[in-house]
């Protein structure tokens, strides 16, 4: 209790220091909209309908929000150490929401839940759930886990993380950085994967093409599934892995022509490259499967 009291009594001074600190903040972020004490276990719910939200995880026990709120928008900021909510309230009587741009600096390790409609989301070292209807989502830095979803916005996931989950409908999905477990899916959007660190990956699309560039990690387990889109794998010539490829009515193009398949039919193929290594399963209904050496 006494510890809490001393924390509370020192709060005004402490906040002044935090707000005045320019470290990690950018002048271009705009004026301070809100600042509070926070800890790594504090969770944040953030909402911005239009414009841009930037979340930056920093090594401080505080949250500082800077930015510009669009005309007619109302910035709200509340909560305590357990959880906080902040963002822009829409005034439905004024029709379409004006653009609001803000940057939130949050303690590293805390969890966010960000929702936007058309606003773009950028996260730097932030963990949690990121959702936009049509805005782009770009995540980078080191984080414990991320879950990014959009109806038709583009996703660019460039994080070092043990676990990521990404979903978009028609948007482009790019996975890079150094994630370990990845579950990624699109409906019609194209997916590009250039993350050699992935140990377990599930990549799915209905009609969007899936491109994988790199060397699957030894011992990794990969599943690629597509209905009508292609699965295109661009691999190093010395790649090691066991590849099981099957397409119900699509074609299979094996660029490793020097390696004799362990089993092969017109619509399926089992190929062992190098000394085993990763286990890769590719399955399509009518999309083409291509294995291409770099």
């Amino acid at each position: 209790m006494s510890r809490t009291m001393s924390f509370v009594t020192s709060l005004p001074i402490w906040l002044c220091v935090a707000v005045a600190s320019a470290e990690g903040q950018r002048d271009s972020d705009g004026p301070v909209l809100g600042a509070k004490a926070a800890v790594a276990t504090t969770s944040f719910k953030i909402y911005n309908p239009a414009g841009r939200v930037r979340i930056v995880a920093w090594d401080r026990d505080s949250i500082v929000v800077r930015g510009h709120i669009g005309r007619g928008g109302n910035f709200f900021f509340g909560g305590g150490l357990q959880g906080m909510k902040f963002g822009v309230e829409e005034d439905s009587s004024k029709g379409k929401a004006a653009r609001s741009d803000f940057t939130a600096y949050i303690p590293k390790g805390s969890n966010v839940s960000v929702r936007t409609v058309t606003a773009d989301i950028e996260g730097v070292g932030a963990a949690g759930w990121f959702y936009s209807v049509s805005g782009a989502i770009r995540l980078s830095g080191t984080t414990k886990s991320v879950e990014a979803e959009s109806m038709n916005g583009n996703l660019d996931i460039d994080v070092v993380s043990p676990w990521i989950r990404a979903r978009t409908g028609d948007g482009h999905l790019l996975i890079r950085g150094a994630p370990q477990d990845v579950d990624a899916a699109t409906i019609a959007g194209t997916m590009d994967i250039t993350a050699p660190s992935v140990l377990r990956g599930q990549f799915t699309s209905v009609s969007g093409d899936i491109h994988y560039i790199g060397a699957p990690a030894p011992g990794g387990i990969f599943e690629f599934s597509n209905h009508s889109g292609a699965v295109d794998m661009q691999l190093p010539r010395d790649v090691s892995g066991s590849f099981v490829l099957s397409s119900i009515v699509g074609s299979i193009e094996n660029g490793f022509s020097g390696v004799r398949p362990a089993a092969s039919t017109p619509h399926s193929m089992r190929l062992n490259l190098g000394r085993g290594g990763a286990n890769v399963t590719v399955r399509t209904f009518k999309g083409q499967i291509r294995l291409r050496p770099n």
């Binding site: 929702r115 409609v117 058309t118 959702y131 209807v133 049509s134 879950e147 979803e149 109806m151 038709n152 676990w163 989950r165 979903r167 409908g169 028609d170 477990d181 990845v182 579950d183 899916a185 409906i187 019609a188 377990r200 990956g201 599930q202 799915t204 209905v206 009609s207 387990i221 599943e223 599934s225 209905h227 009508s228 066991s242 099981v244 099957s246 119900i248 089993a263 399926s268 089992r270 286990n279 399963t281 399955r283 399509t284 209904f285 009518k286």
Partner: protein, 234 residues
């Protein structure tokens, strides 16, 4: 009902196996099975499974209490877990939940039954699929694995049922959707539904193809994911 040239549908095979067909349908199905080795083989497998299920003692705990544990075990066996709360539609984020709580409650028992089937099948195949080589072989269809076959059938059924629940819920929320979100949903649902229709058609023609069944289950999962995603947009 079914000509010899046409295979029994998924529903017909299930109904024959669990003895829920009307006498007329059953005699017609029996005639088809006598002439069609593929369907007969499939129905025999399902019948064996049903028999095992009936012989299994009923759980002592209420089914609704068992489902979270079953789901956790299913999730553990997957390559990457699904989002938490998937079994309840939108994880409690969406509106309209009180209206549908009764429906969901009734269906929870059905899901639990499906879950028991799926968990039993998945536990059986986990032992065989420990090694990556076996795993790849099962997925490719090179080894016709009965347990894998049954598991995929069950998973497609479970996803289909879950999609129906979510679609019902979506109908209540549709008016609250933003126009751009509604447009995106219509487009994406159309893409997924076309894929599902093509796959169902292909499965009807080749019911024993495990790759087709895997693709069908994946498409259903995509649909369920999409419907959950749209509830966040309202």
């Amino acid at each position: 009902m079914t000509q010899v040239e046409t295979h029994l549908t998924e529903e017909e095979r299930q109904a024959f196996a669990d003895d829920s067909m009307s006498p007329e349908q059953r005699s017609s199905a029996e005639a088809h099975l006598a002439a069609c080795e593929s369907c007969a083989h499939d129905v025999a497998r399902l019948t064996t499974l049903m028999k095992r299920i009936h012989e299994t003692p009923a759980p002592t705990a209420p089914l609704d209490e068992l489902w979270p544990t079953i789901r956790a075990r299913i999730e553990q066996s997957k390559v990457v877990p699904l989002a938490a709360g998937a079994g309840t539609g939108d994880g409690g984020r969406g509106a309209g939940e009180p209206v549908h709580r009764a429906i969901v409650g009734r269906r929870a028992r059905w899901f639990a039954s499906i879950g028991v089937l799926a968990a039993a099948a998945i536990l059986a195949i986990v032992v065989q699929m420990r090694s990556p080589a076996n795993r790849a072989a099962a997925i490719s269809g090179a080894d016709t694995n009965e347990a894998a076959f049954i598991a995929v059938v069950d998973s497609a059924h479970a996803y289909e049922a879950e999609a129906k629940v979510l679609l019902d819920k979506l109908e209540l929320q549709r008016a609250m959707l933003r126009p751009d979100a509604a447009k995106a949903l219509e487009h994406d649902l159309h893409v997924v539904d076309v894929a599902i229709a093509e796959l169902k058609d292909a499965v009807a023609r080749d019911p024993n193809n495990p790759a087709l069944r895997q693709l069908l289950a994946t498409s259903y999962r995509q649909k369920v994911d999409l419907l959950k995603r749209i509830t966040n947009a309202s």
